[in-house]
């Protein structure tokens, strides 16, 4: 996929912006706090309809304004489509080729990108929720159909937790009231587990290969999925049954905790390097390399599952990569692909090289 042009209105520190990118490499230069990351964030927002660093939607809107939008024109194979995601006090809206989507979520993941950011270190080092978010983000990238299972699961979980929060209120009717949500949660939960297992087994191979490419070292990397309930390697129906059982075993504990204790929202991904757990035992350098490899694996997975090459967004990570990895990234953005890279200064490899160079200064962008 190629992001041909980007249009912003009232997004963060950009009152108005329209720029055109090229296929291949795009380098975005600027001093700190000029709006480089905001620019990449807006592109991430176009794809995922949320930010990877702000939790509130209205933080994305320029101070003193009510409405903002991000619009992109995207080339997907030979076709061209426009996607516009708006933020207003009432919520989000999405338009695909000028048509307003019934629910904005249906346009999520239609445009695909993979974001590399300095925070990626926490994919390895951080707590389990970071890795679950990574998996959910990947599923969202697969497009609205595959992402529906995650949405269904979240919805059922929210409902079930609401029930557990004041379960006394239901008295004898509690079991009857819980039943449909146990069903809904297990059904969606099993689908999430199937999706995640598939993803991790594909990513394991990618990570193994790219870790070796980057470091030259032959250390075995393993990604393991550790569920919050016992489930064999079986089909969705069997996992669903196991989860349903685990839920009924946990019912007393769940009432005490007033929240759902079983399911993919409590699952964990273990990343092992040479047989050791990387979260506690790997060096910071190893963790950084691994997190980089996870992003590469994410890109490759989206590519192999959907046949679309995601746009690569690299936010200020160039300075942290050694030259070998930099070359690897630039190579990855070959023909039919695109990378947008931010940096505070021109990296040595790029001087006089191909690609378009932009300079960001106080919310305005110019082509060098």
């Amino acid at each position: 996929m190629i992001l041909e042009s980007l249009e912003l209105l009232n997004y963060r520190n950009y009152p108005e912006l329209k720029i055109e990118f090229i296929e291949g490499n795009n380098l975005i230069l600027g001093r700190n706090a000029q709006g480089k990351s905001n620019l990449l964030e807006s592109i991430y927002f176009l794809s995922h309809q949320k930010s990877f660093r702000a939790s509130r939607m209205r933080d994305l809107v320029l101070e003193g304004r009510e409405n903002a939008y991000v619009k992109g024109v995207i080339i997907d194979d030979e076709r061209r489509f426009s996607l516009k995601v708006g933020i207003s006090p009432g919520g989000r809206t999405a338009q695909l080729n000028g048509q307003i989507m019934e629910t904005p979520g249906k346009a999520r993941g239609v445009f695909k990108c993979v974001m590399f950011s300095p925070d990626d270190l926490y994919l390895v080092k951080g707590d389990p929720s970071r890795r679950r978010e990574f998996m959910d983000e990947t599923v969202e990238g697969l497009g609205p159909v595959r992402a529906q299972v995650t949405a269904d699961y979240r919805r059922a979980l929210k409902q079930r937790n609401a029930l557990l929060r004041d379960w006394e209120k239901y008295g004898r009717a509690l079991e009857d009231a819980m039943d449909p949500w146990d069903d809904a949660l297990s059904r969606a939960g099993a689908a999430v587990v199937v999706e995640r297992r598939k993803m991790l087994s594909a990513m394991s191979e990618s990570v193994l290969r790219s870790y070796e490419e980057v470091t030259g070292a032959e250390k075995k990397v393993e990604l393991g999925y550790r569920g919050s309930f016992e489930a064999g390697p079986g089909r969705r129906e069997e996992i669903e049954k196991s989860m349903r059982q685990a839920l009924s075993h946990a019912s007393v504990r769940e009432r005490k905790a007033r929240t759902t204790l079983v399911g993919p929202h409590r699952d964990e991904v273990e990343i092992r390097l040479g047989g050791r757990d990387t979260r506690a035992l790997a060096s910071q350098g190893e963790q950084r390399t691994l997190s980089f490899c996870l992003r590469i694996a994410q890109k490759e997975y989206l590519e192999s599952e959907t046949g679309r090459v995601p746009v690569m967004l690299l936010d200020d990570v160039f300075s942290e990569l050694d030259s070998q990895r930099r070359k690897g990234v630039l190579r990855a953005a070959g023909p039919g692909a695109q990378s947008l890279v931010t940096a505070t200064e021109m990296p040595a490899e790029k001087q006089g090289g191909e690609g378009r160079v932009f300079v960001v200064e106080k919310g305005s962008v110019s082509v060098v």
């Binding site: 006090p89 009432g90 989507m101 019934e102 249906k106 497009g143 609205p144 159909v145 529906q148 269904d152 919805r155 059922a156 929210k158 409902q159 079930r160 609401a162 029930l163 239901y170 009717a173 009857d176 009231a177 039943d179 449909p180 949500w181 069903d183 809904a184």
Partner: protein, 199 residues
């Protein structure tokens, strides 16, 4: 002047929060009402009062009606062996418009949603069970919405009804008729494929 007078503010406040109406629309509607002749506003006010006074829930199916029982429940030509369960009265209208249903209805008054404090007790399940126990109904068609709450409600219902030996069916979800496959939204298309039927 940064605020409207008290009675205008009061009007805006009362409009705001109606389904689909935010503060800005409320303000626009209020100012519009003030600009039209008073016959028009009287008519609107009278329409609201009269609808509220005359309309009640059907004592059998809980659809809205102006009598004790609604026209559909009164209609002797309807097939009383098939009963369709819906969330809201507007769903009855939608199904009636299709012209392809000749059975009777039961309006639950919503869907199970703990977030909104709606459990089975808040809906008209007990009344439904009472009707089913009379033994006339042979098929129960569940036509709750195809979202998380609607599906959970359908599941709950099918479990409650199973011991009665009544056939329980769920309306299909899938493609809009007369549309192009290419333009169907992906989630709907995915669902339609999942629930494909043999020819």
């Amino acid at each position: 002047m940064t605020r409207y007078t008290e009675s205008v503010e009061n009007l805006i406040e009362n409009l705001c929060g109606l389904p689909g109406i935010g503060p800005k629309s409320a303000q626009r509607i209020a100012l519009h009402l003030l600009s039209v002749p008073s016959e028009e506003t009287d008519r609107l006010a009278a329409a609201i009062v009269s609808a509220k006074e005359n309309v009640r829930y059907c004592s059998v199916c809980f659809n809205i009606t102006e009598q004790d029982t609604c026209d559909i429940c009164e209609d002797t030509r309807r097939d009383r062996t098939v009963l369709c369960v819906v969330e809201e009265p507007r769903d009855v209208i939608a199904i009636e418009r299709s012209g392809s249903y000749r059975g009777i209805y039961h309006v639950l008054g919503g869907a199970i949603s703990p977030i909104d404090g709606v459990g089975p007790e808040e809906l008209r399940f007990a009344e439904l069970m009472g009707r089913l126990r009379q033994g006339q109904v042979g098929e129960l068609v569940i036509a709750t919405n195809p979202n998380a709450e609607g599906e959970a409600t359908a599941m709950y219902l099918s479990r409650m009804v199973r011991p009665l030996g009544i056939t329980v069916t769920r309306i299909a979800s899938g493609l809009p008729v007369g549309g192009d496959l290419e333009y169907a939204d992906e989630v709907t298309l995915g669902r339609a494929l999942e629930h494909r039927t043999p020819l």
